[in-house]
């Protein structure tokens, strides 16, 4: 059997891996998905990502690329149909900015909220909500962060769609309600209905178990400290 030209090393639950799956799907690129066990890293993963030993890793014609946003840019430059990034340099800069905002500001603030307890939880919620307001502001009047159609920033922020509902269930509160965040709520629906994205999210029950366990494990290790 001929070896696939494109391989993606990942895990079923990683939001960073999911964004690569979305990009490949949108461009109609066939690939082999290789599920990695991060507790027991394969020789393949260590070979293809010796520096970080993390997923996702894209392997194309034997050459490996790591770091999700680096992979997204590579995919867009290699397979030119259905472009993810716009053509105009200023619009491209905006797309990259929102992608960074998602990973460097919003994601950490959500994680902090997820693992906080007591007073710190209230502070963390305020911080995460401020970031939500910023995203809401950017989306006003737009269907997607990219405009009429889904793009780089949407793919980078797409983890919000299922992760936030997970958090809402575990933490027992509503974070993104239609009243306070009408544009963001609409975006979440538009994003998950988009062809190629639909039905691509990992199984919710399995994710709930995973994140509940993660949270409890975190509390157990920090109990008695701070």
């Amino acid at each position: 059997m001929a070896e696939a030209e494109v391989k993606l090393l990942g895990t079923w639950s990683s939001p960073f891996v999911l964004r690569i799956k979305w990009a490949l799907k949108l461009k109609g690129v066939e690939y082999d998905f290789i599920e990695e066990d991060l507790q027991n890293k394969s020789p393949l993963l260590l070979k293809y990502n010796p520096v970080h030993k993390k997923v996702p890793v894209l392997v194309h014609d034997g050459k490996s690329i790591a770091e999700s946003y680096v992979i997204l840019e590579y995919i867009d430059e290699t397979w030119k149909e259905n472009p993810i990034l716009p053509e105009d340099p200023y619009q491209r800069a905006m797309a990259r900015f929102w992608s960074k905002f998602g990973d460097e500001k919003f994601l950490p603030s959500m994680w902090k909220f997820f693992i906080s307890q007591g007073e710190k939880r209230e502070e963390a919620l305020v911080s995460a909500s401020e970031n939500l307001k910023i995203l809401e502001g950017e989306l006003k009047g737009k269907k997607f962060f990219n405009g009429e159609t889904l793009g780089f920033a949407d793919i980078s922020l797409g983890w919000i769609v299922d992760t936030v509902s997970l958090l809402e269930e575990i933490m027992e509160l509503k974070m993104i309600d239609e009243q306070r965040y009408p544009s963001l709520s609409a975006w979440m629906k538009n994003f998950s209905d988009f062809p190629g994205i639909k039905d691509s999210f990992p199984p919710q029950e399995r994710m709930l178990t995973k994140y509940r366990t993660l949270r409890e494990a975190y509390f157990a290790t920090t109990r008695g400290t701070n």
Binding site: K63, E67, E77, P89, F97
Partner: protein
């Protein structure tokens, strides 16, 4: 000098992130106006152009702001296409972006940890930093620059280490830049600092050392940041 609209850069003299944008502008011979920001008293302009982060650098091109130094570098390379910073080949571009990400995600944190470490924490922090230097040294093997024969995107992004790491060593009294342990990386530092666009665009060393002494004192005095 190349024009192509009005270009303004909001910066702060000691900031490495600002310098990397200036290096890119100088390499491409782009005419720009520099505006020094007082970080402790941010101007209305800075807050207007970067309301989310309120940080420098901010590049203003024909009145439109672009923020985040790596985003700015990509923008500059896409608008002014002569003297390219990123290579043409997608795989080479991915490698350049990978090492740029490595600088921001691993190296900066590793240096910061050593810079602020006290007592027992220091040894562990230095170990982590040396791990990053080993990785960079390995990547540079056989090359003059990360970009090959000429400096490129990852050189500009990692460039802060060529100057600010030495400053950090002096301020926080540690030593990691050992030519025996990291021969390629220490050579790269020398090569990088010789490039005219870089050499002519570094902050004054004494002033920078003094600045970071103050910065370190301030941070150590305010625990739990």
């Amino acid at each position: 000098m190349v024009s192509g609209g009005e270009v303004k850069l909001f910066g702060m003299w000691a900031s490495p992130a600002v310098r990397r944008v200036e290096w890119a502008l100088k390499l491409k011979g782009i005419k720009y106006e520099y505006v020094e920001e007082d970080i402790s008293n941010k101007s209305g302009a800075l807050v207007q152009y970067n309301p989310i982060n309120k940080q420098v650098p901010v590049l203003l091109h024909n009145g439109k702001p672009i923020v985040e130094s790596l985003v700015i570098l990509e923008y500059i390379d896409e608008v002014w296409k002569h003297h390219p910073i990123l290579p043409k080949d997608p795989y080479e571009r991915a490698m350049a972006r990978f090492w740029a990400a490595y600088s921001e995600d691993k190296c900066r944190d590793a240096v910061r940890r050593v810079f602020f470490a006290e007592g027992g924490e220091r040894a562990k922090a230095i170990e982590c930093l040396e791990e990053t230097l080993r990785a960079l040294d390995g990547e540079l093997e056989g090359k003059e620059f990360f970009g090959g024969e000429n400096i490129g995107f990852s050189d500009l992004v990692l460039g802060w280490m060529a100057f600010w790491l030495g400053v950090s060593e002096e301020v926080a009294s540690f030593e990691v830049l050992d030519p025996k342990k990291f021969p390629w990386f220490t050579s790269w530092i020398d090569n990088f600092l010789q490039v005219p666009a870089i050499k002519e665009n570094l902050p004054p060393r004494d002033k920078t050392v003094a600045f970071f002494h103050g910065y370190r004192r301030l941070h150590l005095a305010a625990p739990n940041c």
